[in-house]
Symmetry: C2
């Protein structure tokens, strides 16, 4: 039997017991008439979480990375130019996706740990009037940085581009207003601030995005992720035509997690994430630890903390796992060895988690 | 709350209670050291189910359709010619996949409800010496037909082709010997004879397949399904490098379902499926119902039964759902309205299920 951890890394986060229980409900057929109402309800809950009226709002049957791929392969045709504003691992992944679908990526790089600078993005958009899309990460999970999604979305429109927004770590944790901000295409994950198990990617596409898809000269290169086919199953108002076998039990879990979010209320969930971030911050600073990211751009749900000089960061993580059953995350890429990533996402954003983490870190650092 | 059904359609099948319970275990991190042993064990159980020693034997984090896409996008480069032997929906889906990855498909069509004729396939392979792969479906879920995978795999090699085998409905239900038969690439699903919830696709690739992948001039068009990246996480012996967040709880379920299969023993599981098929057959024939597929090619786990003249097939399915909480499947494509598809897969392959189904059908037909 695997140990039970407190999950305070970059995701997965702790899953609510009710969500785990929902996941274990008896499997039903993906074409069962009784499942249709459930699907409609799930779509509606996703619209609430995304704050959108987009008809095409559905869960992709695979993790967030597939949600990213879904956005790219549906909206970009070979030869399409896409501006990618990149400030971490997931911006880099966008480049991989753009290249592999034959698009022409123009990457605007920002230092890891800093937000995307809209001014620089505007320069690049201006210099590339043939670009059809601007893609960026709202919450960079690799660095704990929040970028100004609203400004970037508007900027895309100012230059005749669609925007593609990575909200894997945002959804349910920080303010995200798909319709108000004019987001065209967005994807998220279930295992961050929604606190469902990993495995699905909620996505939403507005009419402008769907028009770009409808106007394609060639079908999207992925059959599995082809939104034209997916919407014939997911509707709403669709004929529920068989595309692939939906991951029923994972959908039960997502549905339950979204009910919990709705019951708490989005604004309350955002406030809780913000409040707990402040609590963690006070505790860390009292221990002499520092944040990697400038205050204005910190994600409350993912805290990048500098590893003090002379501390073996991996030994600290092992100690926390072994002695506290507590997982925190390592740095990635250029930040490997330099930061820890402490997640306060969804069910892991509680005072109890913060206490455990502070106690553990104190013990680890005292020991080392 | 959704109703609890007896699932006797083309999948999902009933899920073992132990598997549902496993799925509800606390989520652990996908990079947790304790999870690595679990992954090794899961890989090994998959090797047992596939009867293979292939190093690259792992679960794709998405349903069977993604497993199919994984095989096509990794093994076929733009311009590669692939012969597709097609005798149902899933052969047609192979064509979609081949086209979308820029391969040149040569389709050999067989009537729905009949098996793939190796003689005809050989003619086409002979006429297309530049073909690099032969793809076919072992168990056609849309028609209940079994084709001779061993002969077709050998045939592929005789003509210098790799073979790609769809075993979504085969695995755990009928004889399938990946190494003995010389299968190069194979994919399956969890929601058929393994009786885990839908959502993952076990795959296996031998050295020849991996060499074709390594020799590519361009990376596979899917980042999410790129086997080079997936194997850096799934190993074995890999550095467990982060690729995407693995669907932990779905992996728990698959692991448990494979343990159950191993405990029963593959041969015993195949025998059980065969025995129960005969039982169902006797019952159906006693009612005057007929099979759609010739005896020699019937899948024991998926029974295509002719809808008697004058019977409203949809009304019968609704009656079974409403009165017996029993799901059976409809016909697809040219067989819509003409057949029912009665699944006896995994946990749904029991005498109790057969009794329920026969009782339900008797009542439905007496009523109509």
């Amino acid at each position: 039997m695997l140990p039970k951890r407190a999950l305070m890394g970059p995701g997965p986060s702790d899953v609510y017991p009710e969500v785990l229980a929902a996941m274990a409900r008896p499997t039903i057929g993906h074409l069962d008439p009784a499942f249709v109402d459930f699907m409609d309800e799930l779509n509606e809950l996703l619209r609430y979480a995304f704050q959108t009226q987009n008809t095409v709002t559905l869960p992709i049957s695979a993790p967030g990375s597939a949600g990213m791929e879904c956005a790219f392969v549906n909206l970009l045709e070979p030869g399409d130019k896409v501006v990618i504003a990149s400030n971490g691992v997931f911006g880099g992944r966008m480049l991989e996706n753009a290249s592999r679908c034959g698009a022409i990526p123009v990457v605007v790089e920002f230092e890891w740990g800093t937000p995307i600078d809209p001014g620089k993005v505007e320069e690049v958009l201006k210099a590339n009037p043939d670009a059809v899309a601007l893609a960026f990460v709202h919450s960079e999970t690799s660095t704990g940085v929040r970028s100004d999604a609203q400004t970037l979305c508007n900027l895309a429109h100012d230059y005749g581009c669609l925007n593609i927004v990575d909200a894997v770590t945002s959804l349910g944790g920080i303010k995200l207003l798909v319709d108000d901000w004019g987001v065209d295409a967005i994807y998220s994950g279930t295992q961050k601030c929604l606190s469902a198990p990993p495995g699905l990617s909620p996505v939403s596409f507005n009419d402008a995005a769907m028009e770009k898809l409808k106007a394609r000269k060639t079908p999207p290169q992925s059959w599995f992720l082809d939104l034209n086919l997916l919407t014939s199953y997911w509707g709403p108002g669709a004929k529920r035509a068989y595309h692939h076998t939906a991951p029923i039990n994972s959908l039960y879990a997502l549905h339950e997690a979204l009910l919990i979010l709705k019951k708490e209320g989005l604004q309350n969930a955002w406030d809780r994430h913000s409040r707990n971030h402040q609590l963690l911050r006070e505790g860390l600073e009292a221990m002499g630890l520092e944040f990697y990211v400038e205050e204005a751009y910190r994600l409350p749900q993912l805290n990048a903390v500098k590893v003090p000089d002379g501390v073996d960061e991996a030994a600290v993580r092992s100690f926390l796992l072994d002695e506290y059953n507590l997982e925190i995350g390592a740095g990635l890429g250029p930040l490997a060895g330099k930061i820890w990533r402490i997640g306060l996402m969804g069910a892991s954003s509680t005072e109890r988690h913060i206490e455990l983490c502070l106690d553990g870190l104190k013990a680890a650092l005292a020991k080392g």
